[in-house]
């Protein structure tokens, strides 16, 4: 039996560049920044309320620790998130999907179509505002997180989902996956 696993060309997957690994949409960085702003804004507000109302915490020690921890966590999240964003790339081949992500720990996931159980397109309110969505790939693997490709354009995510479903279904006809 001959075996091939060539990259799928532009014509097969519309509006996807011909390079094997494709970067995610630049607007996803804006989505991340807005998410961080909201999350850390809420945490900051909570901390302020805590320090205003709990008199026992109103010492230089506690306030310094609180501010210090907040700044460390915020900086780490923003720096690692921004660096990680630059490394988020994906490629679709005839028989699998490759997804590269991470900064401190750089991961490349390789997921064969014949092991995928299903896939889901997600789109949160901030992502929707920027016309973005993410695609989660589900396998039967018992450990490790499910793989989610963030920062795809809405239509691109739908196309990717359709492509994955097309790839999974013929395989499922042949075997009980």
């Amino acid at each position: 039996m001959s075996f091939s696993n060539l990259p799928i060309t532009d014509t097969s997957l519309p509006q996807v560049q011909s390079v094997p690994f494709k970067s995610i949409h630049p607007n996803y960085l804006k989505v991340l920044r807005i998410t961080w702003l909201i999350t850390f804004g809420i945490i900051l507000a909570g901390l302020i309320v805590l320090f205003v109302f709990v008199t026992k915490l109103q010492t230089t020690w506690f306030i310094s620790i609180g501010i210090g921890l907040f700044l460390i966590v915020t900086t780490l999240t923003v720096v690692s998130g921004t660096r990680s964003f630059k490394r988020k790339k994906y490629a679709v081949r005839e028989r699998d999907i490759l997804y590269s992500t991470g900064w401190l720990f750089q991961n490349t996931h390789m997921v064969p179509f014949n092991r995928m159980q299903h896939c889901v397109v997600n789109s949160g309110p901030i992502e929707r505002k920027f016309g973005l969505a993410s695609v989660s790939l589900y396998t039967a693997a018992s450990e490790g997180k499910d793989i989610t490709i963030h920062g795809l354009r809405q239509e691109e995510a739908e196309q990717l989902k359709d492509l994955i479903m097309q790839q999974i279904q013929p395989l499922q006809l042949h075997e009980n996956i």
Binding site: V111, S142, N176
Partner: protein, 493 residues
């Protein structure tokens, strides 16, 4: 043979078992707090305690009766249907071919009432494990055969047979009393001591009032406050704790492995064990995703080990369904491996590959050293400069890492991948390429600088890890793993 086409309830005896189960869960959660409440207050709390306790028992009883009455199961059009709930009706539908394993358990009470507890394990994340607390022995056997037939049909390709499979059992291992004693004595007593210590510390605050009420414990506590902790006292305490731990450890091993018998037929493994509660499990060969076998230092010396069957959908936290088979000879390992994979990669290529020596330093500097520094800083407030003694562990851990690196080997073959790791004990893992779900190649910044990576091969029964290999080698193995996974339509389950 019964077909279960009509919805049916569990055996009436199940009410008792369900009540006992719920009661045990509730009491297990609240007993330390209840003791604290009962002994902690001066005023007469007995009546309140009785009312709360009584109310709790009545609540559990009503819940049990409702759960029992509204739970019905049946088999219809190749699906196992379970209906439950009074207010919120819930129907769980499990396609029979998705069932991973069927386990029968028989406690002393089950034996007296001629019933079995049936556990049905599924792989999917949507369906939950189905537990039938008690059904008549003949019904349990019939249900198991129907489910097993369906499971085998999904593998065989659909021959519609409803007959009981011919049973041609081959005995693989049977743990006799000598083996059981060896297994008990060689158990990891330090681990048991850690579990007991964690439990006592965790519950100490709750049961503190009890200590104050019981004269002997109170006396012991006051004695401990005034006692000088000399080395002799500390050593004696450690020895006493170790002896208690050993007794508990031996009892645990006896309960877990008593009369452990592994047989196989043409479809799967039949496992049976139990002292007070007899348990039976059937694991079809095709459900096994990965194999591992391990021994601690003492077991390694006396040729004992535990072989773990990593089954699809089995969560690590399901301790009850943990499939660790006691092994008393290398032949038993070989017989079990034969059913998973025709040959061992290590036998085909004796040399194998080593991981990179950076593993030793990465662990020493980035994991052990920060941990020890934090521990030493904390200990400084109690032991002053003596806390620096903790740092002596660092060179020892480095030596341990070196030993691990020196012994670590992995082998790649046409059939699969195998790894061997050892410091004091040993651990071997075998993975067939066909069982891979997806591949993950990870590089930390440190690894990237050195051109290294860690490879994870994910399966439905856990993941296989090759740490600190050359990045290029990682890519080559990934490509080969993908080729082996994608070039066949062979079913992984």
């Amino acid at each position: 043979m019964k077909t279960f086409d009509q919805p049916q309830r569990q055996s009436a005896f199940a009410v008792f078992m369900m009540f006992f189960h719920i009661f045990r869960v509730v009491v297990g959660q609240v007993w330390p707090a209840a003791i604290g409440l009962f002994f902690g207050k001066k005023e007469n709390i007995g009546m309140k305690f009785l009312i709360i306790g009584g109310g709790l028992v009545v609540f559990i009883l009503i819940k049990t009766l409702l759960d029992y009455w509204f739970m019905k199961f049946s088999i219809h059009q190749g699906q196992l249907l379970v209906r439950k709930g009074l207010f919120t009706k819930k129907t769980v539908t499990i396609p029979l071919e998705r069932i991973q394993a069927v386990h029968l358990e028989q406690s002393l009470l089950h034996t007296l009432t001629r019933t079995y507890k049936v556990l049905i394990d599924t792989a999917g994340t949507d369906e939950e494990e189905l537990k039938i607390y008690a059904i008549a022995a003949e019904d349990a056997t019939a249900l198991r055969y129907i489910l097993l037939n369906a499971m085998h049909r999904s593998v065989d390709g659909g021959s519609d047979k409803q007959t009981i499979p011919a049973t041609n059992y081959q005995l693989i291992s049977k743990l006799n009393i000598v083996g059981l004693l060896k297994l008990s004595l060689s158990a990891n007593h330090l681990e048991t001591m850690g579990i007991i210590a964690a439990f006592v510390i965790g519950k100490y605050e709750d049961i503190k009032p009890l200590i104050n009420k019981i004269p002997l414990l109170k006396q012991l506590q006051s004695y401990s406050d005034t006692m000088q902790f000399t080395w002799t006292v500390i050593t004696s305490l450690v020895i006493i704790s170790l002896l208690i731990t050993m007794v508990i450890s031996i009892v645990r091993t006896f309960l877990r492995f008593y009369d452990y018998t592994v047989r196989k037929d043409e479809k799967g493994f039949h496992i049976r064990w139990g002292l007070v509660q007899i348990k039976q499990k059937i694991i079809p060969f095709n459900k096994i995703q990965m194999l591992s076998w391990r021994s601690n230092f003492i077991r390694r010396l006396i040729g004992l080990g535990l072989l773990s069957l990593k089954v699809a959908g089995q969560k690590e936290e399901k301790v009850k369904l943990r499939l660790e088979l006691p092994i008393t000879s290398p032949e038993q390992v070989a017989t079990i491996i034969q059913t998973y994979q025709s040959s061992l990669p290590a036998q085909e290529d004796n040399q194998g590959y080593q991981i990179h020596h950076s593993y030793i330093f990465q662990r020493a500097f980035f994991i052990t050293l920060p941990f020890l520094l934090v521990l030493t800083t904390g200990a400084y407030f109690v032991w002053n400069w003596n806390a620096l003694l903790i740092l002596l562990w660092w060179p020892l851990s480095m030596l341990k890492n070196w030993w691990y690196w020196n012994n670590f080997r992995f082998w790649i073959a046409d059939t699969g991948v195998q790894r061997y790791a050892s410091t004091f004990g040993k651990n071997e893992i075998l993975l067939n390429w066909n069982n891979i779900q997806y591949v993950q190649l990870r590089q930390s910044l440190f690894q990237k600088k050195k051109g290294l990576a860690t490879l994870f091969l994910h399966t439905a029964g856990g993941r296989f890890e090759l740490p600190f290999i050359q990045y290029e080698q990682g890519l080559a193995i990934s490509n080969y793993a993908l080729y082996k996974t994608e070039s066949t339509q062979q079913n992984w389950m």
